[in-house]
Amino acid sequence: MTFVRRTAVAGVGATDFSKNSGRSELRLAAEAVCAALDDAGLTPADVNGLVTYTQDTNQEISVAREVGVGDLTFFSRVHYGGGAACGTVMQAAMAVATGVADVVVCYRAFNERSGRRFGQPDARLGGEPSSQGLEMSWHVPYGLMTPAAWVAMFARRYMHTYGATSEDFGRVAVAMRRHAATNPAAWFHGQPITLDEHQSSRWIVEPLHLLDCCQESDGAVALVVTSLERARDLRRSPAVIAAAAQGAGAGQAMMTSYYRDDMSGLPEMGVVARGLWAQSGLTPADVQAAILYDHFTPFVLSQLEELGFCGRGEARHFIADGGIELDGRLPVNPHGGQLGEAYIHGMNGIAEAVRQLRGTSVNQLQDVTNILVTAGTGVPTSGLILTRD
């Protein structure tokens, strides 16, 4: 009953990525879901499952109504912000493998730039005595209340422990913007940056510069998950789900796990990594490219270490000399990532992984058989390994 190598992503769809979509979030969701179904060669009538994030404002039933999906036998939400991304696919695959649903669409749609911006302080974060409100209450009263600030606290400790520098973080930004520069769908299409520009960009929260932070975006992405058997009969080559895992670490908190270990790693990504390698039977050497969640540059380094692409503290050497660029030892985010393409909470990265396996990306890499994808960092998270059929 495992979903491993028995389920697949059969279709991907997206809206345009912008700073002001001019449309409702529900419309964005509906557009992306229809585009993904068209891509797969399916109709809304074929769908009986929907999965999204707890943070999404579009209920499954609302999306079903808009696009004309009929009976739903599976609907689910995944929590913890962008950590949900690959988790939606895992839940869809579980539903398909267990026979609960036949075709499940995962979606994420928001006006994150023109509507509610996650990068802005929200005094209500610490307001409710829920377990999350209480967790936030150890930080929000001190003004520690933006994602950049939460990540910066880890980044400072990482720099101290391993001797990494702001330039090392900057190399991630430079690589992502280089990739986005040749991706017409990217907001930063045609706008590469230099390391000097990274270094001279203003402070957001020291040690993070402006160019260490991803943009904020409006847009939507949807993915169609079904059985491998059915996917083989559809319009596109299937992206086989070789592994899908969620992970939270001991002593986990939302973005503020400052109390448990030496603050120089991402234990929850370690949990995901162990799940991915165990399920797939693969090793880091078997992966030709990676989509690493890049809302802020420092965690790209930590992820390379947690996933086993390099040793602890060695990521700065791994990324040096274009190591994660298109022609590097491990190309990361050929679409430009969230730093370059758009911040769609990690879902646009899964779509890029599918395109790389199909051979249809604008920045197509050679001979991609296995590609690894991660979701939000600093939070309970998730990951995927997708492979060619």
Partner: protein
């Protein structure tokens, strides 16, 4: 229990009193008509002797003079601070806060006018700490009365105005304490509001209470009371003891009533033995910066940027997050020894913060 004992405080006060009068920075501007106009307009004083040159020329002074009660105005720093020099009063009030006497109410303000200030006078304040009396049990709680004198001198070194200022610095009562708790809390809140809206000696009350990270939002002179600090913590049965401790000038760390294990942040159960018999211990109040950030952007409600937030490792073996204050962001580094200090953010919330412990062994702590 706290970082500064009453005995330490009294010894410090004696030393600071012995320093005598300490001169501050001269006024940024000489006595001038535009500032007088603003002030009399705000106060509703229509006497033309302060603003009308023709009328004033015919009067007893022969020229425009400044309202004597404006004395403080000429050298008061703005809400964002300004050039400040060390003052014995600031030093003492900081220590009094650290000892847990975080409440404040102004009790006396007496001014003596040696002469009227004239347009063009450049005034320089000098502050002299005169006494600290206590601890006394008052209706607001136990506290010390701190008194100081400020004299404003003109360019010739002659006194223009003198002022005696006295505050009661008290340890706020905590909920459940004997007596009419709710009533006295309300009284304390009212007193604090009054103190905040009343003028104080240059840089004294404002800096001791609302300076640092909340400059401009919790300082005096903003009208009928402190603006509520917008970043409030949520509390529940598991965490209330921490915030009550902070209000009482104590940094409390949850300690298991059965096995004695410490944890922070607190929660309903002991992480070591699952006991729900939770208690607490009061931390020594020292620590070391484990990691930190300097926040520049975007603006945060109730805060002036840049400000520093740190993860502080305590010798007790837990970590606590808080602001590092009273030093420049560039002076903060991993490993910096710090000690706790308590800052009232508004009439309701006090936050524990951290200040560099740059004192050699054998100091007052």
């Amino acid at each position: 229990m706290t970082t500064v004992s009453d005995g330490d405080l009294e010894a410090l006060a004696e030393r600071l009193i012995a320093e005598g009068e300490v001169r501050g920075e001269p006024a940024a501007d000489p006595v001038n008509l535009p500032m007088i106009r603003h002030w009399v307009d705000a106060m509703g004083d229509t006497n033309p002797i302060y603003t009308d040159p023709v009328f004033a020329a015919a009067g007893v002074h022969g020229e425009i003079v400044a309202p004597p009660a404006m004395a403080q105005v000429w050298t008061m720093p703005g809400p964002r601070g300004g050039k400040t020099t060390r003052s014995t009063v600031d030093d003492l009030l900081a220590a009094v806060n650290a000892a847990g006497y975080t409440g404040v109410v102004a009790t006396n303000c007496e001014q003596t006018y040696h002469r009227y200030a004239r347009l063009g006078d450049l005034l320089t304040p000098a502050t002299r700490l005169t006494s600290m009396i206590g601890p006394k049990l008052t209706a607001l709680g136990q506290g010390y009365f701190v008194t100081w004198n400020v004299t404003w001198y003109d360019a010739d070194g002659e006194p223009v105005t003198e002022m005696l200022f006295r505050v009661l610095k008290f340890r706020p009562r905590t909920r459940g304490e004997s007596g009419n708790g709710a009533a006295s809390r309300e009284a304390a809140a009212t007193a604090a509001r009054e103190a905040a809206s009343r003028p104080a000696a240059p840089g004294a009350t404002a800096q001791a209470e609302g300076g640092g990270p909340a400059k401009g939002s919790a300082g005096p002179g903003s009208g009928g009371g402190r603006r509520p600090y917008p970043l409030k913590p949520a509390k529940n049965q598991d965490t209330e003891f921490f915030w009550e401790g902070v209000a009482a000038g104590e940094l409390r760390i949850q300690r298991c009533g059965d096995c004695g294990a410490l944890r922070h942040p607190p929660g309903p159960m002991c992480l070591a033995c699952r006991s729900t018999a939770t208690g607490y211990t009061v931390a020594a109040g020292t620590g070391e910066v484990y990691s930190y950030v300097v926040h520049h952007h975007p603006p945060v409600p109730g805060r002036e940027t840049p400000f520093v937030v740190a993860v502080v490792a305590l010798p007790e073996g837990v970590r606590v997050v808080g602001n590092v204050v009273d030093c420049a962001p560039e002076d903060v580094g991993i490993g910096l020894p710090v000690r706790v200090t308590f800052q009232a953010m508004d009439d309701e919330l006090t936050l524990p913060m951290w200040t560099p412990l740059d004192e050699p062994a054998g100091g007052t702590r």
